[in-house]
C-alpha cells in the first residue's frame, strides 16, 4: 500500500470521526415506549443503559464507546460483554442508583417503558439528565425504536443495515410459514411456572410472528398465572418454556435445559397434552427471546411450529450472523433444548 493510500484512508477516517464529534446541537422529538412525545437534546456523547436489550442495540449501532454506565448484570457476563464488562455499574435494571447515574453525568439514560417507574425522570430531570424509554423486547415496535436510537446517536446507517438484515430474515420466515395452512395451538410459559406469556408480552409477539396460535390470546394480563387444568383442556400442539439462566452464552452442556424439559413433561396430568404426547415441548433461553436477538427465537419457533415448511431454515446460522456481524462476538452457547436439525 502506498503512503498516499494510507494518508487518504486516514483522512477519510478523521473526517468521519470529526463529523460525529462535531455533530450539531439539535433537539429531536421522538416517541417513547409509553407512546409519549419526548424532546431529546443532541448530540448524545455519554450514555447509560439500564438493560441488556438496549445494550445489544447500542452494539448494533457501533456506539459502545458512548456507554459510560451499565446495569449490574453486565459484569456477570464478561464473555458476552468483553468491552462493557468493566464500565461502571449503576445498579439494578428496575432499581438503579440515581446517585451513581448522577456521578456519571450522562446525556441520556435508556430504560424500559414501565420499569423503573416515572421517578426515574423526576430524579434525573432536575440534574439535566435525559431519559428515553424504549422497549426493544417488543417485536412490533422494535424496528421503529432502533431507528429512533440510530437517529439520536447519529448512527442511522448502522440502524438501516441491521434492519435490512432483520427484515430479510423475518420476511423469509413469514414466507415459509405462509405455506402451512395449519396454525398450531401453542402454550408459551414465562420464567415462572404456570405463568403464561399473554398479549403485550414480548414472547407473545414472537409466537404470533412465528405463526402460532397462542392459547392465552384472549387473556388480558401479559404474564397471568393459569391453572394447569386449563392448559390441559386447551390441549396445545407445542409448549415452549422460557428460562433465564444468564449462562447460555458460555454453556456447552444442555443438561440444565433437559432437566427443565423433563420436569414439564412430568407435570401431573400433562402426559395427556398433545404437545407432550408428540414430544413437541421445548425450552428456550431468554438470550434469544428478547431484544433484537429475538429474531433467532422466532426462527426456532417457526421451525418447531411448521417443521415441514421450515425444514431448510437454519436458526443457528441466523444466530451466528447476528453475533458475529452485529454484536462482534463469536458464536457459541446452548440456547434451546431439544435442538433438532
Amino acid at each position: 500500500m502506498t503512503l498516499n493510500k494510507v494518508l487518504s484512508i486516514l483522512l477519510i477516517l478523521l473526517c468521519t470521526v470529526s463529523g460525529r464529534l462535531k455533530a450539531k446541537a439539535t433537539t429531536q422529538i421522538v416517541v417513547d415506549a409509553r407512546g409519549r412525545s419526548v424532546q431529546i437534546h443532541c448530540p448524545i456523547r455519554r450514555l447509560v443503559s439500564l438493560n441488556e436489550d438496549s445494550l445489544e442495540v447500542i452494539r448494533i449501532l457501533h456506539a459502545q464507546n458512548l456507554v459510560v454506565g451499565v446495569d449490574n448484570r453486565i459484569p456477570g457476563r464478561p464473555f458476552f460483554w468483553p468491552v462493557l464488562k468493566n464500565r461502571p455499574t449503576v445498579g439494578k435494571w428496575n432499581e438503579p442508583s440515581y446517585e451513581r447515574i448522577a456521578i456519571l453525568h450522562p446525556d441520556l439514560v435508556l430504560s424500559y417503558g414501565n420499569r423503573p417507574g416515572l421517578e426515574l425522570e423526576k430524579k434525573l430531570g432536575p440534574l439535566g439528565i435525559q431519559v428515553l424509554r424504549l422497549d426493544f423486547y417488543k417485536m412490533l415496535s422494535m424496528p421503529r425504536e432502533i431507528k429512533t436510537l440510530g437517529m439520536l446517536l447519529n448512527r442511522e446507517r448502522e440502524a438501516e443495515i441491521f434492519l435490512k438484515w432483520y427484515h430479510r430474515k423475518l420476511d423469509l420466515i413469514q414466507d415459509l410459514i405462509k405455506k402451512d395452512p395449519h396454525q398450531p395451538r401453542i402454550y408459551l410459559e414465562s420464567y415462572s411456572n404456570y405463568h403464561a406469556l399473554g398479549p403485550s408480552s414480548g414472547g407473545y409477539e414472537m409466537g404470533v410472528l412465528a405463526g402460532g396460535q397462542n392459547i392465552a390470546s384472549h387473556l388480558s394480563i401479559p404474564y397471568p398465572e393459569v391453572t394447569p387444568e386449563w392448559v390441559l383442556t386447551r390441549n396445545p400442539d407445542v409448549i415452549i418454556k422460557t428460562v433465564s439462566s444468564m449462562a447460555a452464552y458460555r454453556s456447552g452442556n444442555p443438561e440444565t435445559l433437559r432437566k427443565i424439559r423433563d420436569r414439564i413433561i412430568h407435570r401431573p396430568g400433562w402426559r395427556n397434552i398433545r404437545a407432550v404426547k408428540t414430544g413437541r415441548v421445548y425450552v428456550m433461553e431468554s438470550d434469544i427471546c428478547a431484544g433484537p436477538s429475538a429474531i433467532i427465537g422466532i426462527a426456532y419457533m417457526a421451525k418447531w411450529f411448521h417443521p415441514r415448511q421450515c425444514s431448510d431454515l437454519n436458526p443457528e446460522e441466523i444466530h451466528r450472523q447476528y453475533l458475529e456481524q452485529f454484536q462482534g462476538v463469536a458464536y457459541r452457547g446452548i440456547y434451546v433444548y431439544p435442538n433438532e436439525h
Binding site: 415462572s192 405463568h195 397471568p224 387444568e229 383442556t233 396430568g269 395427556n272
Partner: protein, 348 residues
C-alpha cells in the same frame, strides 16, 4: 352458630357441662361435614367443564383426561389447601395459647417468614428439585426463629407483648433477607421468590404433599393431648404450675411442634397470611377457649377457609389464578369483622 355458654345455675353444672360438650361435638361434626362438602365443590369446579357426576365417574376410571384433571390436578391442590389451612390454624392456636396473646401467630412471630426464607434458600440451592431440601431448610429457619423468640423471653423474662414485638421485628428481618436474595437473583429466581409473597397451590404434587403431611400430621395428636395444659397456661404460669403443668416443657414442645407444622404448611405453598392468626379467633368466638375443642375447630375452620379460597381463586377469573393469599384475606377478614362486631368484645 355459637355453642359457648356459661353455666347459669350451680345446681345444673354437670348437666349443663355435658350439654355444652355434646353441642360442641355436634358442632365439630357439622364443621367436618362442611369441610367435606367444600372439598366436593372444589373437586367439581375448575377451568374445564366437569360436573360432579363426571368427577365420580372419572374417579372410577383407570385413565383418561377427566381422571387426570380430577386425580392429578384438582385432588392434590385441594389436599394441599386442607393441609395448609390445618397447619396454619393449628400452629396459630397453639402459639396464641403458649404466649397468652391474641396477636400471636406463625406470621406475627416471624416463624412463617423464617420458614419462607429457608424454603427460598432451599429452592435456590436445589433449583427447586429436592422437596426434602426445601422442607428441611424451611423447618430449620422456622425453628431458629422460634428459639430466638423463646431465648429472648427466657433471658429477659419479657412480657408476651414484647415477644410479639420481637417476633414482628424478626418477621421484617427475614422478609428483608428474602427480598435481598430476590434483589440479587436472576430474573428466573425473582419470579420463583415472588410466588412466596403471594402463595400458590399449583406447585405441590403428591410427593410434596407426602412431605408436608409428615410434618403436620404426627405433631397434631400430641398437641391435642396437651389441650388441658394449654387451658392451664391460659390462666397464667403460676396457676399452670399449681395444676401440675410443666410450663417450660409445654412451651418449648409447643413452639417446636408449631414451627414444624408451620414449615410443613408453607414450604410448598408460599405465604398464605391471615389464616394462622384469624382461624383460631373465629374458632374461639364459636366454641370458646377450651383447647380440647378450640384446636380441632381451628383446624377445620382453617381447612375450610383455604379450600374455599382456593376454589374461588381458580374459578373467579378462569383461566387466571388469583393468588391464594389475596383470596383468604378477602374471604376471612369480612367474616372475622362480622363475628367481632356481633360477639362480645371480651371473648379472648
Amino acid at each position: 352458630m355459637v355453642v359457648s355458654r356459661s353455666c347459669s345455675s350451680p345446681r345444673n353444672t354437670i348437666a349443663s357441662y355435658r350439654s355444652i360438650t355434646k353441642k360442641k361435638i355436634v358442632f365439630l361434626c357439622l364443621l367436618l361435614g362442611i369441610l367435606l362438602i367444600t372439598i366436593l365443590i372444589g373437586l367439581a369446579v375448575g377451568a374445564s367443564s366437569l360436573d360432579l357426576s363426571s368427577v365420580f365417574s372419572a374417579l372410577m376410571r383407570e385413565d383418561g383426561l377427566a381422571r387426570s384433571i380430577v386425580v392429578e390436578l384438582r385432588l392434590p391442590r385441594i389436599t394441599v389447601a386442607v393441609l395448609a389451612g390445618w397447619g396454619l390454624a393449628l400452629s396459630g392456636a397453639v402459639t396464641q395459647a403458649i404466649l397468652r396473646n391474641p396477636l400471636a401467630s406463625p406470621f406475627t412471630l416471624g416463624v412463617a417468614s423464617g420458614a419462607g426464607f429457608g424454603a427460598v434458600l432451599g429452592i435456590l440451592m436445589g433449583h427447586g428439585l429436592h422437596q426434602w431440601l426445601i422442607a428441611s431448610s424451611a423447618f430449620g429457619f422456622a425453628l431458629l426463629t422460634s428459639f430466638f423468640i423463646l431465648l429472648v423471653a427466657q433471658l429477659k423474662n419479657v412480657s408476651s407483648e414484647t415477644m410479639i414485638l420481637a417476633g414482628v421485628a424478626t418477621m421484617f428481618f427475614f422478609s428483608s433477607l428474602t427480598s435481598f436474595v430476590q434483589y440479587l437473583g436472576t430474573m428466573e429466581e425473582v419470579h420463583e421468590i415472588t410466588f412466596w409473597f403471594f402463595g400458590s397451590l399449583s406447585r405441590a404434587g403428591w410427593q410434596e404433599i407426602g412431605v408436608a403431611l409428615l410434618m403436620i400430621a404426627p405433631p397434631t395428636p400430641l398437641l391435642m393431648k396437651w389441650a388441658w395444659s394449654f387451658n392451664a397456661l391460659m390462666a397464667g404460669d403460676e396457676s399452670a404450675k399449681t395444676l401440675g403443668v410443666n410450663v417450660w416443657r409445654i412451651r418449648l414442645g409447643g413452639i417446636l411442634l408449631a414451627s414444624l407444622i408451620t414449615a410443613g404448611a408453607i414450604c410448598f405453598t408460599g405465604i398464605i397470611g391471615f389464616v394462622g392468626l384469624v382461624a383460631p379467633h373465629i374458632a374461639r368466638m364459636l366454641v370458646g377457649s377450651d383447647h380440647r375443642f378450640l384446636l380441632p375447630t381451628s383446624v377445620l375452620l382453617g381447612a375450610i377457609l383455604v379450600v374455599n379460597a382456593d376454589t374461588l381463586s381458580r374459578t373467579l377469573w378462569v383461566p387466571q389464578v388469583i393468588p391464594i393469599g389475596i383470596v383468604t384475606s378477602f374471604l376471612g377478614v369480612p367474616f372475622f369483622f362480622y363475628l367481632l362486631m356481633k360477639r362480645r368484645r371480651d371473648y379472648w
